[in-house]
């Protein structure tokens, strides 16, 4: 083995170089890439797949970094939604006295808090994600969509932790969900579609117009009160409900309540359909706008 006898005497780096020859041969047959103005790259989705590890690494980095130098560490991700739930229960259930049907008020609130927090966290994180990673964007190529998408993935991790609190609440209140609970993943998928759609829009817009750095927190705060989080959407008068469903999060939240609590507040299916269609359009438009602008990100970021 002449190659080994050469590398034995070398520093480890040189060994790596010899090994590298093998992978060079492996990649020789790769197809060529054409770089051209305004060209819609056919390999785009394949590229995203090839960079899937970067996607996980970015999400992993954000999780690692988030609670560094905190005393209670990861406990924050449990504490935050829990405290919000307590505040909401007190304000809306005890003081404002919105009706909750048969369901315990904390669960009613929490069932809506889950998708809303997911949406709000994903949007806040991802709208700034491109700007905070501007260094990477101006120095290395990778499909840019990975960056906001990994922020949404971070939201999913938070969501799963919050789901545990929900289980805890259900045990506490001896609340047993019916068969509808199995549809929850579908509504969560809808929540992901909505969040990803909005995230792509705002992340791309924020690159060019930094105004969105200030618009997004406002939107998140404002959205909390106009979405049926602290109350059931049955509170909204019947004639306005179709219009109310123009907020795509209404469909998501109603769906979550329906799946977790049963049909306590009367599921309004036409409105849900509108929310669903709007969410789908939000994602479709988001992807289009993002892909249309991402090639100039490095120039304007």
């Amino acid at each position: 083995m002449p190659e080994n006898s050469v590398s034995r005497g070398c520093r480890p780096v040189e060994v790596a170089l010899f090994q590298g020859r093998r992978s060079l041969i492996r990649t020789m047959s790769r197809k060529s890439v054409i770089i051209e103005a305004g060209k819609r790259d056919k390999r785009y989705w394949k590229d995203i797949w090839e960079y899937r590890e970067l996607f996980f690494f970015l999400a992993w980095r954000d999780i690692l970094v988030r609670y560094k130098q905190t005393v209670i560490g990861i406990a924050w991700s449990v504490l935050r939604p829990f405290l919000t739930m307590v505040v909401f229960t007190v304000i809306f259930g005890k003081l404002a006295k919105f009706p909750s049907g048969d369901a315990p008020y904390p669960i009613l609130v929490y069932a809506a808090m889950l998708p809303w927090q997911f949406f709000a966290n994903s949007l806040s994180e991802s709208s700034n994600s491109l700007v905070t990673n501007s260094n990477m964007i101006s120095k290395v190529y990778f499909p840019r969509m990975i960056v906001p998408a990994s922020s949404v993935a971070l939201g999913i991790a938070d969501f799963l932790i919050s789901l545990l609190i929900l289980a805890f609440l259900m045990i506490w209140y001896h609340f047993i969900p019916d068969w509808r609970i199995v549809t929850l993943p579908l509504f969560f998928l809808l929540a992901i579609i909505t969040s990803l759609g909005a995230s792509l829009w705002f992340a791309a817009l924020n690159v060019r117009y930094r105004d969105f750095r200030y618009i997004v927190p406002f939107l998140v705060q404002f959205g909390l009160y106009i979405s049926p989080v602290g109350f059931a959407s049955g509170v909204v008068p019947e004639k306005w409900r179709l219009l109310y469903s123009m907020n795509p999060m209404v469909g998501v939240i109603d769906g979550f309540r329906w799946a977790i609590l049963g049909d306590v507040s009367g599921m309004y299916w036409p409105g849900f359909l509108i929310s669903f269609i709007l969410s789908a359009f939000l994602l479709y438009g988001g992807i289009r706008y993002f892909r249309g602008t991402e090639k100039v990100f490095a120039d304007i970021i």
């Binding site: 520093r11 480890p12 780096v13 040189e14 060994v15 790596a16 170089l17 590298g20 020859r21 992978s23 060079l24 990649t27 020789m28 790769r30 197809k31 060529s32 890439v33 054409i34 770089i35 051209e36 103005a37 305004g38 060209k39 960079y51 590890e53 970067l54 690494f57 970015l58 980095r61 690692l64 970094v65 560094k68 130098q69 990673n133 260094n135 990477m136 964007i137 101006s138 120095k139 290395v140 190529y141 990778f142 060019r208 117009y209 930094r210 105004d211 090639k295 100039v296 490095a298 120039d299 304007i300």
Partner: protein, 433 residues
């Protein structure tokens, strides 16, 4: 489909990149602030002449729209295994070209076809997060540069060994010294296995010794593995050492593309970064003035690129208009960092610190012997003065030149140090052994 011969891995056809200056900045904040400001200005203008016209007026608005072609009609082909240096002054479009080739930004027009896996090194440590530990950053940085998790895991130990930071692997990199940080970052980059490696001035970081180590590494990667390398550097010596062909850009256009050696020589003497000839254009001194300073090697004039084993002659012409009692003409040799490598004077050969001079025109030739300087960029400064005192005339860095590597023996074999003379070694067998 584009057809490319098997050997060509990069083919650029008439690529151009347009930027819109100043207008772009305005457009960036178009949506709200600019609109509000615009409306506000209009309102105020209607309100009266309270505001100066320069502030509210529309004059000069159109001139702000300035198109700027960072690259224009750039075409070239690069074959597999080529090592191409991209040279040119600041703003010539080098970095823009690299960014287009590595798909960071897209061209405004034209087309590039790239065959194979490309890795871009525009800086070391892209995406390093200061809160993360060295270990975590190796994985993160590797992923950003396009390595898979298994690939990183496989090379992890080698990366750590190369970086020399084993002890601090679980310390956040924010506690690293800058040297450790750069070493770790470069170690990751050095273990990339792309078909095409695109490198910007990443070597401009770290101390001189580290730069040498990086350069050596680059050389290994490209030579031994036959990898295609594109290398941008201001260090002509480094380009000459690493690349066998060069692409010379100026104002976004290709000036020349061809053999590195010839091109660098021409580029060097074109006033790009070096010049072999200086002729006095300013007012002459009171009674002593340098007229002309020129570099030459052998019988070739006007060279700025020398092999390490070539002798370099510096010819200094000067004029004296009256008798000077004591005068010394001295020459300083500086490296690219501006450090003085040596000082020499024409009185060295006379055996006295100063000699009297008569009126007239003279020339002096200083010879830098072969195998003295290590590869790199150098400049000289000359001065005429009364010893240690009283300056008659001086010229700061009129000529600059580059020394490139040639093979062993001598300075060409990459030995470290400011100078690399061949010294005398006496060898013998010890009695009684």
């Amino acid at each position: 489909m584009v057809t490319m011969s098997d050997n060509i891995v990069i083919k650029a056809e008439g690529i151009g990149k347009k930027y819109i200056l100043s207008h772009q900045i305005e457009k960036r904040e178009e949506l709200l602030s600019a609109l509000i400001v615009k409306k506000g200005k209009e309102l105020l203008r209607r309100g009266g002449d309270l505001i100066k016209p320069s502030f509210a007026g529309r004059a000069g608005k159109k001139s702000e729209l300035e198109e700027f072609w960072a690259l224009d009609e750039v075409s070239f082909e690069i074959a597999h295994g080529d090592r191409v240096g991209i040279i040119g002054r600041n703003g010539a479009g080098k970095s823009t070209l690299l960014k287009i080739l590595s798909r960071i930004t897209e061209p405004t027009k034209g087309r590039v076809t790239v065959k194979g896996r490309v890795a871009t090194l525009l800086e070391v440590g892209t995406g390093f997060h200061s809160e993360l530990t060295g270990r975590e950053n190796i994985y993160l940085n590797g992923a950003i540069l396009g390595m898979g998790r298994n690939e990183i895991r496989r090379k992890f130990d080698e990366i750590v060994l190369f970086s020399e930071v084993e002890k601090f692997l679980d310390t956040p990199v924010k506690r690293y010294s800058s040297g450790m940080y750069v070493r770790l970052a470069f170690a990751v980059a050095a273990h990339l296995e792309p078909d095409i490696l695109i490198i910007d001035e990443v070597l401009a970081v770290g101390d001189a010794q580290f730069q040498k180590k990086c350069l050596g590494k680059m050389e290994e990667v490209s030579r031994r593995e036959g990898r295609t390398v594109l290398f941008v550097s201001h260090n002509i010596g480094a380009v000459a050492r690493l690349c066998h062909s060069a692409l010379w850009l100026d104002s976004g256009k290709v000036v020349k593309y061809g053999d590195a050696r010839e091109l660098l020589d021409e580029y060097g003497s074109s006033g790009g970064t070096s010049s072999s000839l200086w002729i006095r254009s300013s007012e002459p001194g009171e009674f002593f003035s340098f007229k002309r300073i020129e570099l030459k090697t052998g019988n070739q004039h006007g060279a700025t690129l020398f092999d390490a084993d070539e002798r370099i002659e510096i010819k200094i012409s000067y004029a004296i208009s009256r008798h000077i009692n004591a005068c010394q003409i001295s020459l300083r040799l500086l490296n690219s960092e501006g450090e003085i490598i040596l000082t020499t004077a024409d009185t060295d050969s006379a055996g006295s610190p100063a000699i009297p001079r008569e009126p007239g025109e003279f020339s002096a030739i200083c010879v830098i012997p072969p195998n003295l300087l290590t590869p790199g960029s150098y400049s000289i400064s000359v001065a005429a003065h009364f010893p240690y005192n009283l300056l008659y005339d001086q010229v700061e860095q009129p000529v600059t030149f580059h020394v490139t590597q040639v093979g062993w023996p001598g300075s060409g074999d990459g030995r470290l140090g400011f100078i690399s003379p061949l010294l005398e070694w006496k060898m013998g067998k010890n009695p009684g052994s």
